[in-house]
């Protein structure tokens, strides 16, 4: 039975329909969790002893950073599956994930920078994590650029998969090297978020937002994947029928 399921999933047409059904089922819980997370984070959680209310940026910054890494790994994994087993859907998921991952990376960088101003007195600081995030953004932009540069979609997907895999091997290396570099050139301040324990009233909204972001990624990647499928299959009958109906 599962074999049949996977076989049908590999068909773009079935994927398009299934994705369309799944999207609202993911989007609504996402919205609910976001509202809950925002309530607990912005209203219920008390101000921080050292940072006052500015620490609340964490509820966006940290989940965004987690997503930026998570999505890259998914992208590389899907790319590998597409490369090895030549499954079109894996290629579609990989390439649809790239702009979303880049957006989260950008968000992590911007919120990190804004948080840094009251914390460290400057808009940008070459902190280990921000620097690693910046490099991650470059890796994403490279994937997007390479995909746009190659005309044939299937060739582009394979090239992007190789690039993403090379990138994913490099991510721990880059992260380690930047952290090491940062301890050498450490400024006078120590990053506050290295505290090992976090108060429950702050942990709950953090986790709520983290799950909300994951659901967000799920339904948004399905939305982008549907567009990608439409483009790839634009000459097939079912797509033409679909276009006629709208």
């Amino acid at each position: 039975m599962f074999n049949n399921f996977f076989h049908r999933m590999a068909s773009p047409k079935h994927f398009y329909g299934l994705a369309g059904i799944l999207i609202p089922w993911l989007a609504v819980p996402c919205l609910l969790l976001t509202v809950a997370g925002l309530y607990y984070g912005l209203v219920k959680a008390p101000p921080d002893y050292q940072q006052g209310d500015s620490y609340r940026i964490m509820f966006i910054h940290v989940p965004a950073a987690w997503m930026s890494l998570f999505i890259y790994i998914v992208m590389a994994g899907a790319g590998a599956i597409g490369l090895i087993w030549r499954i079109k859907l894996a290629e579609v998921v990989a390439i649809s994930s790239a702009p979303i991952g880049a957006s989260f990376t950008f968000l992590a960088l911007v919120t990190g920078s804004i948080w840094g101003k009251p914390m460290w007195g400057t808009w940008w600081v070459w902190d280990a994590r921000l620097t690693s995030e910046l490099i991650l953004l470059f890796l994403y932009l490279g994937v997007i650029a390479l995909n746009n540069a190659i005309d044939d979609k299937r060739t582009a997907a394979r090239a992007v998969a190789i690039l993403a895999l090379v990138g994913v091997i490099n991510i721990p290396i880059i992260h380690y090297s930047v952290e090491w570099w940062n301890t050498l050139h450490q400024g006078p301040t120590v990053t506050k978020f290295d505290k090992p324990s976090i108060h429950l009233s702050m942990l709950i909204p953090l986790l709520l937002m983290a799950v909300a972001f994951k659901l967000y990624y799920a339904f948004v990647v399905l939305m982008r994947a549907r567009c990608e499928v439409l483009e790839r299959e634009r000459n097939s009958g079912w797509v033409k029928e679909l276009a006629e109906k709208t």
Binding site: L139, L146, T155, R158, I162, N170, I173, W180, W181
Partner: protein, 227 residues
Amino acid sequence: MNSDSLTRAFLILIRRDLMLAVRHRAEMANPILFFVLVTSLFPLGIGANPALLQAVAPGVIWVAALLAALLSIENVFRSDFEDGSLEQYLLSSHPVSVLVLAKITAHWLITGLPLLLISPLLGILLGLPVDAIKVLFITLLLGTPVLSLIGAVGVALTVGLRKGGMILSLLVLPLYIPVLIFASSAVDTAAAGLPVTAHLSLIAALLLLALSLSPFATAAALRVSLS
């Protein structure tokens, strides 16, 4: 297809590329000139304060080396791509990764080695102490092959593209960053008189990693680009 013929193919490829390079000897000077020029721009840009120059020297020289490596790696597959030999490599009975390794080795000998040899001069230009210059040399010896190996993957991915050059930089420079960090930090540490075995071991580790993985990734990328 035995290992003997594979070794021969490997050596033949290297010899051929070296002979071609020697015939266009003037072109071999380009990466060196670029390296020296870019390094010289920094004193002109930030002032000739010796203490400042010595402080930035490791980073500046290594960034210039990165850029020189990036500019020159573009050509590693170009002439073969244009005359169709690249497809022949893919069709041959030898494993493509070995042939690719031969191309990269030859390329490093032609472009990386000259950078290595001119580096002590640049160290002197920027006022590095002798111990630091020795370490600079070793970091370049270990590091420039890594640059060639990583760069080759990027070139293989973009070899058929029209504006491949711009995109190549975007793809490859982020991957160069760990080498830059470990190498410039090694030279910095040496300038302060401290031991650098840890730093050099890390660069050596990167070299081994690149040597074992890059030929396969490059071969796979070539297959994709030429499909």
